[in-house]
């Protein structure tokens, strides 16, 4: 089976959907000859033409709004945000228009807004954020965050075929660092389904995005110390796979909620609430969060290292919880 990077897998998913369905088109800043800031759409305008791979002005509100309007007319636009940090410029169109049109009118809005998020590349405060919770708190949207190349392809294809607006968080740190087996043929990964990345018995670690890899590395180290982690990759944050989360928590009786996003109002808070509501009796220890602190993302490499959760921070937390 071919080995593809996370980035190549996303491109292949977009490419196949463009070939499969003429109503799919791409729009965004510098996605044409330039190929996108990270080259996700490299070669696509040459293949599909300027009519279907459209360079736009730097106008996020118009990009998202035009995508919504085109979707109302039966098209399936995929809009790129050059960095997910810039999505704030199109915020109104996403949360007030896209998210509520089906509710208000019953009309489908099958758009995908995708782009790079996350830290680890010294991008500083405006090019490193994990701002997914802005949209997880917006009923009517779906929010997706793949961790593997296989999932990145399967999830972008599912997102394009979904009849609801989907915000698709690619992790820029993974673009070229992750490579795995990606079938060359058509397949989809369903939205709303988590994956157990590693079976374990002592502590369930619920996470997503780049932190899945941090968790797997920590699990290897802790296994040598006799602590067995089960790693759950949420893959979709809204709607999230509550059953999968609860089943791993019940199995392990202890849980760590891990994410790169900041702490207050992060996904961990929501998961902690649902675990406390529905699996309280199954817990043998406190629900533990390992997250970034409540600060902007710093530029300076050592500061960024302090900011980000990492293997050390996770193993420390796991050892403490295991001993509880």
């Amino acid at each position: 089976m071919p080995q593809l990077t996370y980035l190549e897998a996303i491109r292949q998913g977009l490419w196949e959907e463009m070939e499969r369905d003429p109503s799919v088109f791409l729009l965004g800043e510098d996605i044409g000859p330039y190929g996108g800031a990270f080259k996700v759409t490299e070669g696509m305008q040459k293949k599909f033409g300027e009519d279907r791979v459209i360079d736009t002005p730097i106008s996020e509100s118009a990009i998202v709004g035009a995508a919504i309007g085109a979707a109302l007319m039966g098209m399936r636009p995929v809009a790129e945000m050059q960095f997910m940090d810039f999505i704030s410029c199109g915020f109104d169109q996403i949360v007030n228009m896209a998210a509520k049109i089906h509710y208000r009118w019953g009309a489908p809005v099958p758009i995908v807004i995708r782009g790079p998020s996350g830290a680890g590349v010294h991008g500083g405060p405006y090019h490193s954020q994990s701002n997914e919770m802005w949209f997880v708190h917006t009923p009517g949207l779906k929010v997706v965050a793949p961790a593997t190349a296989y999932d990145a392809k399967g999830l972008i294809k599912s997102s394009i075929r979904d009849n609801n607006p989907v915000i698709f968080y690619e992790h820029k740190y993974l673009y070229r660092r992750i490579r795995d087996e990606v079938p060359a043929e058509d397949y989809v990964v369903p939205l709303g389904k988590a994956a157990v990345r590693r079976e374990g018995t002592d502590i369930a670690v619920i996470t997503y995005g780049a932190m899945v890899w941090t968790a797997l590395e920590a699990a290897d180290l802790l296994a040598q110390k006799g602590i067995s982690l089960e790693i759950v990759d949420l893959r979709t944050l809204l709607p999230y796979d509550e059953q999968c989360v609860l089943s791993s928590v019940r199995k392990c009786s202890k849980v760590i909620l891990l994410h790169e996003d900041t702490r207050v109002g992060g996904m961990a808070g929501e998961l902690a609430a649902v675990i406390a509501e529905k699996a309280f009796e199954d817990l043998d220890g406190p629900i533990v969060r390992v997250t970034a602190p409540d600060t902007p993302v710093p530029f300076s490499p050592p500061l960024e290292e302090y900011f980000l959760p990492n293997v050390q921070k996770l193993t420390d937390a796991a050892r403490q919880l295991a001993a509880y």
């Binding site: 919504i68 309007g69 085109a70 089906h102 009118w105 009517g140 709607p239």
Partner: protein, 352 residues
Amino acid sequence: MKSGNSSRGAVHVPEAGGAEAQLAEQQERARQKDPQLLKDLLEKMLLVRRFEEKCAEMYTLGKIGGFCHLYIGQEAVAVGAITALEPQDAVLCSYREHGHALARSMDPGPVMAELFGKSTGCSKGKGGSMHIFDQSLGFLGGHGIVGGQIPLAAGVAFAAKYLNQPRVTLCFFGEAAVNIGSFHESLNLAQLWKLPVIFIIENNEFGMGTPILKTSSIRNLSEKAGSYEMARAVVDGMDVLSVYDGLSEAVERARKENLPTLIEARTYRFMGHSMSDPAHGTYRTKEELAEHRQRDPIKRYTSTLESLGIINQEYIDDLDSKIREVVGQAVTFADESPDPTAEDLTTNVYLP
């Protein structure tokens, strides 16, 4: 219609020449039109007027709650503009859009039921006054965020061009919306991509309670099109035929040349911003309102048609009672419709 830059400097006073000159201009426009079209325009305007008056009554009775923005005074704009369209065209509006929905021939029953919050409303009671919608008529809302619909209109027009469908998109918004960023983003996109879309500014002079002179650095709002090398026009928003003629020209430009137009329709709102504020007393005087009421678009138009012998008082009376009956039926429909149930709360959030 005046193409290009307008020579009118002051927006706030009726044109020099006054009522007589305006009447003469309207008569001249009317002479060139089919009498049936002229009668249809009157019927639509009167329907909107009576519907909105009924809304005010129902609001006072507590049958309609929440926020309710009435269109009384501005009827000529929606009716004149939408009548210039074909059935395959698309219309997007702001939140003061009951009149546009009726002008687009939406059944008044589901519109009134939506205002009543009933399950038979066009949004099943989930949207209310600002979210009127009917995709089968190409009526794409009803948008409660100022200017939020402008980028959507660019996308709807883009799809028409992409899919090679002969659709013109007409996007209404108030004059206060020209100061939000997405207005400019969308105009740039529309001209850059040569989209068959018409942006129409309904300049009723007030963004809620603040006059346009306090919020816009320029008076002739259509001049903003110049920044994008877009065609522009100014129409008299109190003259349904001025609006109709101006739109017809822009529609042709969109349909034949795939080019957008920015139109400013100068109009005036006779009611408060919403049902929550008085028509005068805070940001405008009783006298100012009374002066503008002299320009009532329905009164002027009725006089024009009478003077040309197209209608007479008997016709007007018959039409009015017929329309009052239609509006009464809409109220009965809304009144007798069931409320939404608790089960309806969670439907329509996601599509399968």
